[in-house]
Amino acid sequence: MSGNTILGVFAKSPLKPLEQHIRKVNECADLLPSFFVACTAGDWDKAEKIRKDISSLEKAADKMKRDIRNELPGGIFMPVQRTDVLELVSQQDKIANKAKDISGRILGRQLVIPAELSDDFNSYLTRCIDAIKQAADAINELDDLLETGFRGREVKLVEKMIIELASIEDDTDYMQIKLRRALMALEENMNPIDVMFLYQIIEWVGDLADLAERVGARLEIMLAR
């Protein structure tokens, strides 16, 4: 039927699914704090369960990503570049993958964050997840951006959000340096292999914020054209 009417001309907007995708990714990363709480308490069964949830949310996000790619066939004329849309969705998806990797690594080695670090680590994790939330909020403006044809006030507002996102990411960098120093002071009396993995986890958690910032950067590029 779509061939027979003018309405066939209107293709499915790729922007709405982008918003839904980042929400799903955000949901996935949001489970990490409770996961770490379970690990610190030594409740590995519960941690296992949360890890399963993270994994299934990651799978759901993956499926959404594939759908967006498939629903963006050639010959679609959009107010944004199709390459930008595809890059953005890939970038968003990496966040969920990273969250899954972190939980998998911790559970696989039954790695516990040392008590001396736990406060710092938790606030570090929270800040990194803030970055993801900020990125999701910015992406959620896409619809309104379209409404105004990607110019004027709405764009300025999104740019502000992206600047805010960058400053959150800056915070996480400082927190990461602090954490590494604290871990270095503890190294002596720990299992060296655990220490190696802890460094890796700290880095990966930081990657969450990095990736979120890259999502913001992609969005900025989209608007700049």
């Binding site: 779509s2 009417t5 309405l7 066939g8 001309v9 679609i76 004329f77 409404e147």
Partner: protein, 421 residues
Amino acid sequence: MDILANYGSTLVIFAAIVGFVMAWGIGANDVANAMGTSVGSKALTIKQAIIIAMIFEFAGAYLAGGEVTSTIRKGIIDSSFYIDTPELLVFGMISALLAAGTWLLIASYMGWPVSTTHSIVGAIVGFSAIGVGMHTVDWGSVGGIVGSWIITPLIAGVFAFVIFNSAQKLIFDTDNPLASAKKWVPLYMFLAGFVLSLVTIKKGLKHIGLNIGSVEGYLYAIAVAVGVAIIGKFFISRLKFKESKNRRANYINVEKVFAVLMVITACGMAFAHGSNDVANAIGPLAAVVSIVGNDGEIASKSALAWWILPLGGIGIVAGLALFGHRVIATIGKGITHLTPSRGFAAELAAACTVVVASGTGLPISTTQTLVGAVLGVGMARGIAAINLGVVRNIVVSWVVTLPVGAGLSIMFFWMIKGAFM
């Protein structure tokens, strides 16, 4: 000659029936294009769309359809070649109607988008050029008509681009989009009302025997437009808004205002469609009636018989009433991400372009103009995604329609000629 004398009334009745069927097909077919955007953006329910379409298609056909009818009747063919054989012209016009009607039926059944205008023009050129002789076609006006098929979508696209951009500047990109919308939307209503009524008054009414001076015409048009804007403002003031600080909710409220505007542009679109496309069905019929009525004399200046425009209008409405809701329901299923604020520019631009073209007597393709307008809004970054593949299919089917319409009408022409002579 004696053929017309002996079978004149039979031929007229036959032509009237075929013309009515053709009008029916236009009503059933094109309603999707004329009303689709309004239903797709949920500004109107299917029932409302049908009722609006019925009223305004008929009004457009009756009040503004005369000019295009004359072009279809005598602009495409150089009738001086038929002076000695008027019956050939009668047979030809009937075959053209049969051919276009048949092709519309087949295409609707197969779900192909076709242009009624293209099929009838192709059919008339076909029987005249091949069935009678290449020299009988007024190639100059045919060239003009074909040129207008390219130019009108362009014009509509530019219009839509400008209208959408102005809406952005005046409404969306402001501190309070809702207040701006309440302020400016009536202006768009005024614009729609003004263009539609002006063309109708200046070009359409003389076919139903009303002659209005030019100054008076402008005054009447302004009066109608002001009326439209006031009615629109009244409905906007009756809307209930959930006031909130949240910008997102604010946009939803703005959409409500635009939905009122969308109703008006939908009326305009239906009017425009009726004014241009009714001619495709009744132009050939009018030619048959005038030849038979004048005992075979091909008069270049004969008024339309009084019953022809209403017949076409009623045919369109009948097609709408009986099949329109099915067509529109199918559209409703293929819900798009079209909102009133994004759809109105396309509809307003297309309606204005079509009505102005009707005023000059050019048979243009309504669908084509609307597609041009949609692309214009897309260029203004106003539509999330346009499926160029579908646009390509639509264009291909337009091109194919010409030779098919011509071929069918040649076939029918020889059949009818064989039956009577």
